[in-house]
Amino acid sequence: MMLPGMIMTLLIGGLLSWMAARWNAVLSKWIALLAVGADLSLAGYWWFHFRDAASSGSSWFIDFQTGWIPSFGIGFHVAMDGLGLVLLLLTFFLGILAVLCSWQEIKERTGFFYFNLLWTLAGISGVFVAMDLFLFYFFWEVMLVPMFFLISIWGDARRRYAAYKFFIFTQAGGLLMLLAILALYFIHGRQTGTYTFDYFSLLHTSLASSVSRWILSGFLIAFAIKLPAVPFHSWLPDAHSEAPTAGSLLLAGLLLKTGAYGIIRFVLPLFPRESAAIAWWAILAGVIAIVYGALLAFAQTDLKRLIAYTSVSHMGFVLLGIFSFSEIAMQGAVMQILTHGISTGALFVMAGMLKERLHTRDIEQMGGLWTSMPVMGGAALLFTMASLGLPMLGNFIAEFLILLGTFSASVPLAVIASFGLVLSALYSLRMVRKVFLGPADLPLKDLSVRELLILAAMSIGIIALGLYPQPVIDMVRTTVRQLVTR
């Protein structure tokens, strides 16, 4: 009952927060904080509780199942393994920061904002635990709609355009995925006589390769759009740059990760042979994303757009890691999901803080900010260094493992991807120079206590993952091994 409870906490918390805002906006914030905080502590508790189970090699920690629409074979089946737990922890960690960083920024319709925020989080956490494909699709949509509202109501000047673009892209992918799920459902039903959406039953569907290729692409395109892989990435810079800070944080930190998660959880186990067949092409797509995203990031003058394109580049590494089919690289992909969530999330948070102060996202109008805000400068430097893959910080571990693993899959592609490290240095240093260095002329207030708290938590996270990533690696080892040895 704990997994459904976790999701219900967010759903009910969201509703309460919405209602509470009628009387008191502050109360609504606190309800939201409390709801996400409760889930974070729950995930934290699980972490310590299941650590021994993870190292002893058991894959599923919690499995909850009950009927939902039995006549169609739809069940409410949620389960959590090491991978799910790690992602849930990230979800609630970033979730609580998203609540905190909207504390001052959102002044209109506060209640409805927190309702959407919490429902997005509920959708995301549902995606990470759903083991029934219909339920998965349901959560997939649950995280989409409130996110649409977050962008279109509290976003920037071009928010409508960005929100529609985000919605159309994701929905197009979602539709393909639905078709693929239904195809799988009917083929499995016809083969075995039991029509079910259950993940573990569908795993044993035997598919003719001609059919499975189509079903695979249905899933893959949906996840590639979310990831995003080039050329499906173009919704991302608009959505990220127009969304409010919390929206950008959730988009970059979590929503993109659902794409990566989908590939790991569904594409590889459901279509092992076909995935192996397209592996080289997928790695190529990853390399293209790394290089193309970096080149675009370098050219941007809009701070949030710049960071958004770095996400394209970094998520390319995830594709590399997943399709290298080596344990090392797959571990790296999981690490990249975590560390990119934190480091890019932090950069977006800081972009939001700058926007609150300067009312612009244009880096040409910034410069010399270090003088008046050295603390924020230090934090920004830390996360840029993380993003360019400096050892000691988490992203290095991720990218190192991915590249090392990819080397066994394809040497030339791994070499090109390695030079992504040079490109990341190029755009990262340009960003720092444009924003924080140079002559100072703007007297600005440095971080407030609340802001400092947010960035300190993220800094500790990224440093801890860089210096001692082993607990995470141990936690997901069983899941990863099963994937690569299949």
Partner: protein, 626 residues
């Protein structure tokens, strides 16, 4: 003890970066300089202990924690010290400590006192990790850490865009080398399934055949990493610009940390290089050509720090030459003495620059001998060592064997020897020029104030070391004293010589004569017969050559047209993302189509009736025809 040597600078960094702005200056100075000085003292104590009771294997290990284990890769954070790393640790902490003490005086008026010492401490700490690392991933951590600190310190005065440019350049150019090195690590791992340094050195000879393409490639990739950090051709362009940082930073980069990392890496992985003779030869050639080209550029520079920067590139070139020749201990010995005199020269130059209101042009200095005698004598000691003045300078003892091995080692040949001999002449020449122009003649800029004790004590210490530090290792035909190579050859093999060589004395004599000739030429041009220079300035060919050398052989322009401009062009053209334009087009087509269709819904009854009739007609025709 081992761990605390490395931990102290990190501790200093943490304290200063977290609480630095709330601490009084005196506390910052004590923490900043104190942490490194304490590490230096510990190193000396540890060194004595190590030399007296060296562990059986000659290596002292210390496992801190298991960093990460995934698949068949296992990486730990563990430190190890053998004779080679001990030499490096000693230089890093000892010279580092002197530079820190000097900085407490030099930077006393700077606004960002705490930030400066935080970065300096981190720099020392990262370099210590680099030389103590037991595996290549941890080494890479130190390697990148050093790169980041150099970025922070070169751009320390961040308000000037030129400084930021220089900092970015340093980081990016070295990053190219770093990435090559990283690919080298991947190759090593895919061949040997380990990144542990002792394991690699042990297994490599059994796994690779000598001269095979795979090991040559690995060695060359590691060399590329070394070339980036150590500013060797063709990745040397960042170092001359790196003098944008405060002078103590230059001293740290050029002497104790950063640029010597490449030398360390190659020496550390010497087994791999020995398996790849072609890579060894390329290393020697890179060193030889670099030492000559950088030396030529140093001859014509007018900025005092730029002269020193080019001289560093040139001297590191000597070290690379020695590494390529297989004269491992000679390379490390030159690193050892070079650290003293190069730190000294930069610190003394800093004292001069500060005394002259941040004037860096040597032709606007002059006559400082009388006004700043201490700086003059210390500078003289450093310049003499750089020029390798026979017997009375440390540089002589370390450079002489390299010249000898350039001929006599199995990789040696007349070309490399010629380059290194030419380099000796050039070095002696520009040292003389520097001394005469800065300290001789008449005073051109008024001296503001003289350096305080915090600055003069490190200068004096380094000056003494620049004179005497070489005496622990004599050319073996003169005196049998080889303390340094005895120590180093516990780890690194002795050079292999050719057979039937002429007497070593002839080569030494040639080197001495050439050095003295260089000094004489410098004296002649800048003191004796100044008219020659005036005449040269009128010849357009000579002026063009001078400008070419002044700009560092045009590498910056070359890279600008080859890489920078095309890159900027591509990114600028695609700023709005061509892929997005496709989707945009798709949306436009839809909108157009929508407009087209909506024109049919115009509310006019005639249109609708006409439409219905045309439809009916169409269907009837269809039925009649079919």
């Amino acid at each position: 003890m081992l761990a605390s040597i490395a931990a102290l600078p990190f501790l200093g960094f943490l304290l200063l970066s977290l609480a630095g702005r709330r601490l009084p200056r005196i506390a910052i100075a004590w923490i900043g300089a104190g942490s490194v000085s304490l590490a230096a003292i510990l190193t000396v104590l540890y060194g004595i202990h190590f030399l007296q009771s060296s562990p059986d294997s000659g290596v002292d290990r210390w496992l801190l924690w298991q960093w990460f284990t995934a698949g068949n890769l296992s990486v730990s954070v563990s430190l190890s010290v053998d004779a080679l790393s001990l030499v490096f640790i000693f230089i890093i902490t000892f010279v580092g400590a002197l530079i820190h003490i000097y900085s407490t005086g030099y930077m006393r008026q700077d606004r960002d006192y705490a930030r400066f010492f935080a970065c300096m401490n981190l720099f020392v700490g990262a370099m210590l990790v680099l030389v103590m690392a037991d595996n290549l991933v941890l080494l890479y951590l130190g390697w990148e850490g050093v790169g980041m600190c150099s970025y922070l310190l070169i751009g320390f005065w961040y308000e000037s865009p030129a400084n930021c440019q220089a900092a970015n350049k340093a980081f990016l150019v070295t990053r190219i080398g770093d990435t090559a090195m990283l690919i080298g690590l991947f190759l090593v791992f895919s061949a040997l399934h380990t990144l542990n340094i002792p394991a690699i050195l042990e297994q490599a000879p059994g796994h690779f055949t000598k001269g095979a393409p795979n090991i040559t490639l690995i060695a060359l990739l590691l060399l590329a990493g070394g070339m980036g950090k150590s500013a060797q051709l063709p990745l040397q362009t960042w170092l001359p610009d790196a003098m944008a940082g405060p002078s103590p930073v230059s001293a740290l980069i050029h002497a104790a940390t950063m640029v010597t990392a490449g030398v360390y890496l190659i020496a550390r992985m010497h087994t791999l290089f020995q398996l790849a003779p072609a890579a060894m030869m390329i290393t020697a050639l890179v060193g030889g050509v670099t030492l000559f080209m950088a030396g030529c550029s140093a001859m014509v520079q007018t900025d005092i720090k730029r002269i020193l920067a080019y001289s560093t590139i040139s001297q590191i070139g000597y070290m690379f030459l020695a590494l390529g020749l297989g004269a491992w201990s000679a390379a490390i010995f030159h690193f050892f003495t070079h650290a003293f005199f190069k730190a000294l020269l930069f610190l003394a130059a800093g004292a001069v620059i500060e005394a002259l209101h941040h004037e860096q042009d040597i032709f606007r200095m002059g006559g400082l001998k009388a006004r700043m005698p201490l700086v003059f004598y210390t500078f003289l000691a450093g310049a003499a060592a750089l020029a390798a003045l026979p017997f009375v300078s440390a540089g002589f003892y370390s450079k002489d064997p390299i010249l000898w091995y350039a001929w006599s080692s199995r990789n040696g040949n007349a070309f490399l020897w010629g380059l290194s001999l030419a380099g000796a002449f050039i070095t002696a020449f520009y040292c003389t020029r520097l001394m005469l122009v800065v300290f001789g003649g008449e005073m051109k800029t008024r001296v503001r104030e003289l350096p305080g004790k915090a600055m003069t004590i490190p200068l004096a210490t380094l000056a003494v070391l620049s004179v005497v530090a070489g005496c622990i290792e004599w050319p073996h035909n003169l005196l049998h004293l080889s303390l340094f190579s005895d120590l180093i050859q516990k780890v690194l093999p002795a050079p292999v010589l050719k057979e039937q060589l002429p007497a070593e004395g002839i080569f030494q004599l040639a080197a001495v004569v050439v050095t003295l000739l260089g000094i004489y030429t410098g004296y002649l041009l800048y003191h004796g017969e100044k008219s020659i220079l005036v005449r040269w300035q009128r010849s357009p060919g000579k002026v063009m050559t001078r400008n070419f050398l002044l700009g560092g052989w045009g590498f910056d322009q070359l890279y600008d047209t080859l890489f920078v401009q095309p890159f900027l062009f591509i990114t600028r053209v695609n700023k709005t993302d061509v892929v997005d334009r496709v989707y945009e087009g798709l949306a436009q087509v839809n909108v157009k189509f929508n407009r087209l269709l909506s024109t049919t819904q115009n509310g006019s009854l005639r249109w609708y009736i006409a439409g219905v009739l045309i439809g009916i007609l169409f269907i009837i025709t269809l039925q009649l025809v079919l």
